[in-house]
């Protein structure tokens, strides 16, 4: 679409975060699938250990969706917890940079003319940035018994460790759905142009 070529280039911070976050999200989804395979029942509340306490039995994720591709919980945990640093601190740095460089004010404010995004896109991106990502981090921290002792309010916020585990899993599923939809939309609406824009900053030289 010709009208879209007026988009300003993506900021360097946006591009950098987009790709580091893409790596972190994919690694965390796949290692998370291995962790889910370790105990395929979800509970609500403080506790839950037996199938009869569960509200959902999760299907087993096949090897091509898990990291590592064979069942190896300790490796999956190591990947998951290492890339959590990239995920959380990358997100924090992007939030700070985007507030400072005006990206959010320009592109995400409702009703503001001159944004590069459609209102529906704004809604989805705001939901991701201010809803899903902080909640994924918060519920993830709540799964740690050490963090429960350090920050007991986490347990009150999410209503218990097993509730947090359920929310964490459902949000990860939503993230996976977003990822599929996002990649599909890029493929149908001009992969070359959009990839160029996210890799090198835009099409100003076209």
């Amino acid at each position: 679409m010709a009208g879209m070529s007026a988009d300003p280039p993506h900021k360097r911070t946006t591009r950098l975060w987009h790709w580091t976050n893409a790596v972190a999200v994919i690694v965390m989804l796949m290692s998370g699938a291995t962790i889910s395979n370790a105990h395929r029942f979800l509970y609500w509340g403080q506790k839950g250990a037996m199938p009869e306490e569960a509200w959902l039995r999760v299907p087993r994720f096949p090897g091509w969706l898990t990291l590592p591709s064979h069942y190896d919980l300790s490796s999956a945990r190591e990947w998951h917890l290492a890339f959590a640093w990239l995920f959380a601190f990358g997100f924090g740095a992007f939030l700070a940079a985007s507030l400072l460089n005006g990206h959010f004010q320009r592109d995400l404010r409702v009703g503001r003319a001159g944004s590069r995004y459609h209102p529906l896109q704004k809604l989805i991106y705001c939901g991701l940035l201010f809803g899903m990502l902080p909640l994924l981090i918060g519920t993830g921290l709540t799964l740690s018994p050490g963090m429960n002792a350090a920050w007991p309010w986490l347990l009150d916020l999410f209503g218990g460790r097993q509730s947090a585990r359920t929310i964490h899993f459902l949000l990860a599923g939503t993230m996976a759905a977003f990822l599929v939809g996002h990649v599909a939309l890029v493929l149908v609406s001009g992969p070359a142009r959009l990839m160029r824009s996210m890799l090198w900053g835009g099409e100003g030289t076209q």
């Binding site: 403080q46 037996m50 591709s69 963090m147």
Partner: protein
């Protein structure tokens, strides 16, 4: 640039293969191990030394407390102890201590007891709440008198794992002297049963289940974990690569 389904598939497959290769690469795993170390350091700095694990009301206990790992240690020795109702069971405290101890079950029950209703979190993801009663480890360590060179406590257990390797676990002194760290001999108002670690198990409430060594027979104070079995501080740490610090 045209991205076809074919190239996307090839890309995805090579990404998967690449991840598995990275998973087996020592230098990459060195990096993830550094991240694990950082998790430990950060948690310890966020956590007050004496910060307590959440304690629950009695009515919040799990109806069935799931038992995991060894449910019945093999071997004649343990079977004999079970028949004798653990009358001849001893917990030896030795290593870098001034006064080595050999404690019977009644000895442990004479120590001012602590009862706590806490949540047990398995590394696999489930949680169960139970009420534990036992002797604060701190009181036992004070009686034995740790030498200044002692930095870790190793818990030697009666259960034998694959290949006859004994189960063991270890904690540092910060957790050893924590007020909720107990040698538990009771669960939900009754003497500990065999699936849950009879007659004595460790409770170290701010860490995952595999740290809570069952069937404890010996507590050894050491300066360094390198010389103990596989050197990583625990059976699962040695055999499967689980983290020594299991606070996450």
């Amino acid at each position: 640039m045209i991205i076809t389904r074919r190239t996307a598939l090839i890309g995805a497959t090579s990404l998967l293969a690449g991840c598995d290769r990275l998973n087996n690469s020592e230098s990459f795993r060195g990096l993830t191990a550094k991240a694990e170390r950082a998790n430990f350091t950060i948690q310890r700095s966020l956590q007050d030394r004496m910060a307590l694990a959440r304690e629950f009301a009695p009515e919040q206990r799990s109806r069935v407390f799931r038992a995991n790992g060894t449910r019945l240690p093999s071997g004649e020795d343990y079977a004999r102890h079970a028949v004798e109702k653990f009358a001849n069971w001893r917990v030896v405290v030795d290593g870098l201590v001034a006064r080595p101890l050999s404690l019977s079950l009644p000895d442990l029950q004479k120590v001012p007891l602590r009862t706590q209703t806490t949540r047990h979190d398995c590394v696999e993801g489930w949680s169960a709440i139970g009420q534990w009663t036992g002797a604060p480890l701190k009181l036992i360590l004070d009686a034995a008198g740790l030498k200044p060179s002692a930095r870790f406590l190793v818990f030697h257990c009666a259960d034998r794992m694959r290949g006859g390797v004994p189960y063991y676990e270890s904690i540092d002194l910060l957790d050893a002297f924590h007020s909720q760290t107990i040698l538990a001999w009771g669960l939900n108002g009754e003497l500990l049963d065999v699936p849950h670690g009879a007659p004595v198990r460790l409770r170290v409430e701010r860490q995952l289940g595999y740290k809570h060594a069952k069937y404890v027979q010996r507590i050894e104070a050491v300066a360094d974990l390198a010389g103990v079995y596989g050197g990583k501080g625990g059976y699962w740490e040695d055999s499967t690569g689980y983290e020594w610090y299991a606070g996450i």
